[in-house]
């Protein structure tokens, strides 16, 4: 189904095909590390457990802070009492690990057997005295990174509703400012407050590694913008206060439910900006936040120019080349926009799910970038069919295919450069300085294959295997 309106507008297709991506429960792998006092309990089957263990390479070896609640026949046939079973497991977790929060990750099975996790949680958390967050990160409704979206959307409900009265205390609450102010005297801190412009509180959402959190927080601070908190925080006990009327802004394209929850349920105002990926995106993100707060951004243009200059050694490897996204982690549009700005062309952006409203600013920037760079607009294919994509790849012979793990080695064996999409999920790609890391990843296959070129090992499968 094609919904193209004007010839030079973005074209969206939806193939509803058989495509490969990771299960959304994989978010456990990074969220348990991010939220240090958490415990994640995935309530599902052996299939879910084996996925986490194998495909994600997440080996639950030492001191695990997540586990499976493996549903057995008695659970599925409803012979056992869900509440009692979950209570038994959660008490055991409390005894063994004593986390500040237990996050229940629902799965396809809890959906199919209609286990009422949301209904059970409030009663159980009261009984065992540990907050329980319920997220339905199942593979029936979501793909890969959207798992984080379901968790953050659920966690948004747990953010404190109002700031504690005293100003000093508020500083205490805020993990980052506390971290940055560590070891300083009260007066100095107060002094510092004046470095910020007067603006309504801003809470950012999206799970990023701590260095990136600090980095983006500091970038905004340079503009006089104070980040009141991040969802998620490093510790569950330090979740940011969210009051009605606060401003919120996301850092990742896959967080549309969290955005909606923050708007509808917590009555915050969402700043719809492109995502801070690549120097272009980062600048646009900061500018958008500044503009909402009526702040004149300082030095951003110079900053962006300087970053681009530093990237030149990488960019010259990819300028004029083409990149094809098979679709996996929902970062595709942002990455494509950045790579097009680097001088690449992009015939197709596969993506598991496209929320055109939440991604609007990013899509606009993509369009603008293509026009400015004078390249064709990519075709955006939602829920692509991998088999069809492989035919298109065979025809187009792109210089680089960004793809899930299943297709990388077979494509390489057919002489097509690939990069795993999951690497962009786990690498630090946000902000000005990390743009280098994106290109480090994107250009690696080319640099490697340049090294191998002389060997004539382009195709490592015999007959042209069916693609």
């Amino acid at each position: 189904m094609t919904v193209a309106q004007t010839p030079n507008a973005l074209n969206f297709d939806c193939e509803t095909g058989n495509y490969h991506t990771f299960c959304p429960i994989s978010c456990v792998a990074w969220l348990y590390q991010k939220i240090e006092d958490s415990f994640f309990l995935v309530i599902g089957t052996k299939t879910c457990g084996y996925f986490l263990q194998n495909a994600m390479g997440v080996m639950i070896f030492a001191e695990p802070r997540y586990a499976m609640a493996e549903l057995e026949e008695g659970d599925v046939s409803a012979k056992l009492n869900d509440y009692e079973e979950l209570k038994r497991l959660c008490l055991q977790i409390k005894r063994d690990r004593n986390p500040s929060v237990i996050v229940w990750i629902g799965t396809c099975t809890t959906e199919i057997i209609k286990m009422d996790l949301e209904g059970l949680a409030p009663k159980l958390e009261a009984e065992i005295g540990i907050p329980i967050v319920t997220a339905r990160a199942n593979g029936l409704d979501y793909a890969f990174t959207q798992g984080e979206d379901t968790v953050l959307a659920a966690m948004a409900h747990k953010c404190p509703k109002e700031a504690p009265k005293a100003e000093a205390e508020k500083n205490e609450r805020n993990a980052i400012s506390k971290l940055m102010n560590f070891g300083r005297k009260k007066e100095e801190v107060k002094q510092e407050e004046s470095e910020y412009k007067d603006h309504p509180p801003l809470v950012l959402f999206g799970s990023l590694p701590d260095p990136v959190v600090t980095n983006l927080t500091l970038e905004l601070k340079k503009q006089g913008i104070k980040v009141s908190g991040w969802l998620p925080s490093k510790r569950f006990t330090e979740l940011p206060v969210i009051e009605e009327g606060y401003y919120t802004c996301g850092v990742n394209p896959f967080l549309s439910r969290t955005a909606t929850t923050l708007m509808r349920r917590r009555k915050t105002k969402l700043i719809g900006a492109p995502f801070p990926i690549g120097p272009d995106g980062t600048r646009a993100w900061i500018e958008k936040i500044c503009s909402v707060f009526g702040i004149e951004p300082k030095g951003l243009e110079e900053r962006e120019v300087q970053i681009w200059e530093n990237l030149e050694d990488y960019i010259k490897l990819i300028r004029g080349k083409s990149v094809f996204f098979m679709g996996d982690n929902l970062l595709e549009v942002s990455l494509a926009r950045f790579l097009i700005r680097c001088g690449m062309t992009c015939p197709e952006i596969g993506i598991p799910y496209m929320d055109k409203r939440y991604q609007k600013a990013e899509l606009d920037l993509l369009e603008k970038t293509c026009n400015e760079m004078g390249v064709a607009l990519p075709n955006i294919v939602e829920k692509p069919d991998n088999y069809n994509q492989l035919q298109r790849i065979k025809e187009l012979q792109p210089d680089l295919v960004i793809t899930g793990m299943a297709h990388a080695n077979p494509l390489e064996a057919r002489g097509i450069n690939t990069k795993w999409s999951v690497e962009f999920t786990f690498a630090q790609i946000h902000g000005f300085t990390n743009a280098r890391d994106i290109l480090e990843l994107a250009t690696r296959p080319m640099r490697r294959n340049n090294n191998l070129k002389e060997l004539g090992w382009e195709k490592l499968v015999k007959e042209e295997a069916k693609v």
Binding site: K46, A69, C108
Partner: protein, 508 residues
């Protein structure tokens, strides 16, 4: 509900897919939600498979749930049939989609009306059995399907091959060192003058399955995959099978003797005693290793063995019989095969543990404190935490189980590999442990290259004594690391505290 941190065997559909995708030109359709589609990742990542894994997920999502899956599944089967003309399409649910209790056989019957190739539903209870049981069953199901078909069409070859011949049953994709084992077995058969008739399922064509009956006997090297098929072939076609795993010098000889007996009963006149003797004494290094002074030092050392049925049994026997090592505990996670396991190992070990709870094994290891462990990746990590070396002898597979170099576990070359593994686990394991304690794996720049004792730093008596306790091989590195640490902090005297502080800082 069961609180689970780790699984030794995968869910049933993984077993079915391993068998289906081992065959040539067989495609599997997995009726499952999006996220269950990770078998292809395992295959492409762990085995570095060059070809696209012939598995397609027929995605179950919210819409399909509401509307029913029949149309979608049938479409996907017929589509794949058109696109790639597989000889066979195997439909499998996962344990998740099997909860929907749909009549998948009916889907298959529908799809069959429009396909060129054959279509089968994997006949497995996805909720009750695990990967290994499901794989065993699926292989038997496919073999039975094609033999029945050939029989009906009168296409079954009536003659046996003129020379003694064998089918090797149970080599599959994502199996623990399967590829190398297969090469080694073929080599062994060649040396015994036995033709390899068919190897299944890896690389086999379903069209050739009807030729299975031409072989004189079946060899089933692994207990986990192939036994059902061999039993079926015995019951239906009177084919004898040999299911002695040729792992270790003693068991390899026993397997060969059994083969001799089986083929001689059919008119051959093989005598393999000289071959066995020659291999054992001169070709395999393992027997010599057992006799050597290195191995003498291992005598009576305590070991814990844990793994799948095949490897845990074989390893227990090797350690106990061939190396004089005391197996304090032998265990397996194949709970369904408990009786067989007990019967096989009871005379070679003190204690038996049948459990798929990694915590139970971890606790047993901690209690026993063996000198070495032979287990899975999980036991390797337990060992790491307890500073006990561990040699990995069994699945769950890991990328390290697909070494690029030739590393079989079976046959005579396998005996060499195992001897290395045992020796390295006990001795180098010790060294690794020391390196870890003193941060020897650190590759940061070294401040002084010399390893001689004279330096500007003063080692006090205790520290020196501690240093001297460290074996020579790693002593230099430990000394350098410690001195570098002391220099950086302007310490002139090295005490035990400094040594341990150095160790910690390097570890950080």
């Amino acid at each position: 509900m069961k609180l689970a941190y780790w699984m030794y065997a995968g869910p049933a559909h993984i077993g079915t897919l391993r068998v289906a995708s081992s065959f040539k030109n067989v495609h599997a359709i997995m009726h499952a939600p999006l996220g269950d589609d990770y078998f292809n990742v395992m295959r492409s990542m762990l085995e570095r498979e060059r070809n696209f894994t012939p598995v397609t997920a027929s995605v179950v999502d919210r819409k399909v749930l509401a509307r029913g899956s029949q149309e979608k599944v049938v479409d996907n089967i017929t589509r794949k049939d058109r696109e790639e003309h597989p000889d066979l399409i195997v439909l499998t649910p996962t344990c998740t989609s099997s909860i929907l209790q749909e009549d998948l056989q009916n889907f298959v019957d529908r799809a069959r009306m429009d396909t060129q190739g054959d279509v089968l539903l994997a006949d497995v209870n996805h909720y009750r059995v695990n990967e290994l049981q499901a794989g065993d069953r699926t292989l038997q199901q496919i073999v039975e399907f094609y033999l029945t078909k050939a029989k009906k069409k009168n296409e079954l070859p009536q003659e046996k091959t003129s020379k003694p011949s064998v089918n090797i049953i149970g080599i599959s994709t994502l199996g623990f060192h399967n590829q190398h084992d297969c090469t080694e077995l073929k080599r062994l058969m060649a040396e015994l003058g036995i033709e390899v008739n068919e190897v299944i399922p890896e690389g086999a064509s379903v069209h050739n399955l009807k030729n299975l009956t031409r072989a004189w006997f079946n060899l089933v090297p692994y207990r986990e995959l192939g036994v059902m098929t061999a039993q079926y072939l015995e019951a239906e076609f009177n084919m004898p099978y040999v299911d002695i795993t040729p792992m270790g010098v003693v068991e390899t000889a026993r397997c060969i003797r059994k083969i001799q007996q089986v083929i001689n009963a059919q008119g051959a006149t093989a005598d393999y005693e000289e071959y066995i003797n020659n291999q054992t004494l001169y070709v395999s290094q393992a027997a010599w290793f057992s006799r050597s002074i290195d191995c003498q030092n291992l005598t009576g050392k305590k070991a814990v063995v844990f793994g799948d049925t095949t490897h845990a049994i074989a390893m227990t026997k090797i350690l106990a019989r061939e190396m004089g090592i005391r197996v304090v505990l032998a265990g397996t996670y194949c709970k369904y095969d408990e009786d067989y396991f007990r019967e096989q190992v009871s005379e070679y070990c003190d204690e038996i543990l049948i459990s798929d709870d990694n915590g139970a094994i971890g606790d047993a290891i901690a209690r026993i404190e063996p000198a070495a462990i032979f287990g899975t990746q999980m036991e390797r990590h337990v060992g790491k935490r307890l500073s006990i070396p561990c040699g990995v002898i069994a699945a769950p597979i890991h990328i390290q189980d697909f070494p690029i170099g030739y590393k079989p576990f079976l046959g005579y070359e396998g005996t060499n590999q195992i001897a290395d593994l045992v020796y390295n686990s006990f001795t180098l394991g010790m060294e690794d442990h020391l390196l870890e304690i003193f941060g020897g794996h650190d590759t940061k720049e070294v401040i002084t290259k010399s390893i001689s004792a004279d330096s500007d730093l003063n080692w006090d008596k205790e520290a020196k004594a501690e240093l001297n306790k460290i074996p020579g091989f790693v002593r230099g590195k430990v000394k350098r690391n410690t001195e570098k640490f002391a220099r950086e902090r302007g310490l002139s005297e090295i005490t035990l505290e400094v040594m341990y502080a150095a160790k910690e800082s390097v570890g950080a």
